[in-house]
């Protein structure tokens, strides 16, 4: 017999309690960034280019526009204009993603910090989490600071016995992830996984000491992917190469290729300063803080997504 399922109810008391929790978390996040010299920005939700990820599907918004899958490109355009520290909390949209940890519309916290790399960003991420957990007085069991770290190769070594950066095989990598690695991460309270294979660099900087890895990390709390961060790629030529690779790869997968964002590429041509960026799923953070097992458990409107037939 399975354990009693969590209540995913729409009782007023539940909704009022969630309003309270969500407000505390959002207030703590904003306080952290203000204290650390950040400016809060907003960027368009309807965009021409929804990004370049092979495996992220955008929701069409009509007139050739899409709902933003993340505010990355617009926030980097602000960094190109000279912004030093910016953050925002915004809805992001990804089609075809629905499950206990996924929902088509979710709340994303994204921030950029000039003059630092991904190592410093790991520290900053830990600082943010420490601030949020202490000011909200919600500390998930087993969560300790500084956050433990392991490289992605170490993670795969422990979980499945091979090093993705040395023998890259995309299909094997993702299948192993779904079958073994993700369940393995569920046994760890919290861990920063860093140095992803270069094939998964997206818009991160490839390491100058080892071309097979990129300066990217993710934080997992009990197997739940909380954030994804990079030392940001700054080289204009390399940006065009990555956009073209992504478009080709999407075409091969039979997916629509998105036109590159020329405004973004022009801004990068003019100069993107060295910086690190991080994107964090706010709903998932609240799940981790409250011990919720389903993303709709932290939603104020779970009834909108229950049992889609």
């Amino acid at each position: 017999m399975r354990p009693a399922a969590p209540v995913r109810l729409t009782d007023d008391s539940r909704v009022l309690a969630l309003i309270e929790v969500r407000d505390r978390v959002l207030t703590a996040i904003r306080a952290f960034f203000r204290h650390n010299g950040y400016r809060e920005v907003t960027t368009p939700v309807m965009v021409r280019c929804p990004g370049l990820d092979r495996h992220v599907e955008a929701v069409p918004a009509g007139n050739g526009l899409f709902l933003a899958t993340s505010p990355e490109l617009h926030m980097k355009r602000l960094m190109c204009r000279g912004a030093e520290r910016i953050f925002q909390i915004t809805p992001a949209f990804r089609a075809e993603e629905q499950g206990a940890h996924h929902t088509c519309e979710f709340l994303m916290l994204e921030w950029y910090h000039a003059g630092i790399g991904y190592r410093e960003m790991m520290q900053e991420t830990g600082d943010l989490l420490e601030h949020v957990t202490s000011s909200c007085r919600l500390l998930p069991a087993g969560l300790e600071f500084p956050l433990p770290r392991m490289s992605l190769d170490q993670l795969y070594e422990q979980a499945v016995g091979w090093h993705p950066s040395e023998r890259w095989n995309e299909d094997r990598y993702f299948r192993d992830w779904a079958v073994t690695v993700e369940p393995y991460l569920q046994t760890l309270p919290a861990v920063i996984v860093y140095d992803f294979p270069s094939a998964l660099a997206a818009l991160s900087q490839v390491s100058s000491v080892n071309k097979r890895i990129c300066e990217r990390f993710e934080l997992f709390i009990n197997g739940l992917e909380i954030c994804n961060a990079y030392t940001e790629l700054t080289d204009p030529e390399e940006h065009r190469v990555r956009f073209e690779q992504a478009a080709r790869s999407r075409t091969r997968l039979g997916r629509p290729a998105y036109a590159p964002d020329e405004h973004f590429l022009q801004a990068v041509d003019a100069g993107l300063r060295a910086c690190a960026g991080n994107a964090l799923g706010v709903d998932r953070l609240i799940m981790a803080l409250t011990g919720a097992s389903h993303i709709q458990d932290v939603s104020l409107f779970p009834e909108d997504w229950q049992h889609p037939s």
């Binding site: 017999m1 399975r2 009693a4 399922a5 969590p6 209540v7 995913r8 109810l9 009782d11 008391s13 539940r14 009022l16 309690a17 309270e20 929790v21 990820d53 495996h55 992220v56 075809e96 993603e97 629905q98 499950g99 206990a100 940890h101 996924h102 919600l138 995309e170 299909d171 990598y173 993702f174 299948r175 992830w177 779904a178 079958v179 993700e182 998964l200 997206a202 993710e218 992917e225 994804n228 994107a279 409250t290 229950q306 049992h307």
Partner: protein, 188 residues
């Protein structure tokens, strides 16, 4: 042929000629990676289970042609569960494994749907919402409404669900049988 987009709990599907039911399915997708669905399947004839992980879009099998018949649960005796067709008075028996998780929410005289495959009763499906009585739960206590807005409550079937603090023993509640979750208090 069905693909992964059809996958959901309680889907009945023919894989390599055998009828299976999806007892658990989880969508797994790294933020920047391929999507998969992890499933646990139960063979509707033998009761054996297997775990399968499908890549998004992958073909999984044929829609099972299952005949559904509305019947009433009569009684359980020695691990055999007897159901009756109210029109023909025909009775069929299923074992506990075939009744499965429905045991958590099924009471005598409940109307259920019995599924037949090749003329054999193989599984039952409960109504989406059923009313059940709470036989045991802690009295409501004042506490932290933020983190502890629920408490466990034992149903007349013996199964335990989480309910809001205001629910008391002896009350009836509506349970969603697909998720096993409390829905609302039955208005008196």
């Amino acid at each position: 042929m069905l693909d992964t987009s059809a996958l959901r709990k309680n889907l009945k599907i023919i894989i390599d000629g055998d009828p299976w039911i999806v007892v658990d399915c989880q969508f797994v997708k790294p933020g920047k990676g391929q999507a998969f669905t992890r499933t646990r399947l139960k063979n509707l004839v033998t009761g054996s289970t297997m775990d399968r992980t499908y890549k998004s879009g992958e073909k999984i099998g044929e829609q099972a042609r299952i005949d559904e018949c509305n019947m009433v649960f009569l009684y359980e005796q020695g691990g055999a569960y007897t159901f009756m067709d109210n029109n023909t008075y025909e009775q069929v028996e299923l074992n506990a494994d075939q009744v499965g998780e429905a045991l958590n929410f099924m009471t005598e005289n409940m109307n259920v749907e019995v599924d037949f495959y090749n003329g054999m009763p193989i599984a039952i499906t409960l109504p989406n919402f059923v009313e059940l009585e709470i036989v045991d739960t802690e009295p409501a206590v004042r506490g932290d409404t933020v983190s502890g807005a629920t408490k466990p409550a034992k149903l007349s079937t013996g199964y335990s669900v989480n309910v809001p603090l205001f629910i008391t023993s002896g009350e009836a509640i509506v349970v969603d049988t697909r998720t096993g979750e409390y829905v609302e208090r039955v208005k008196k």
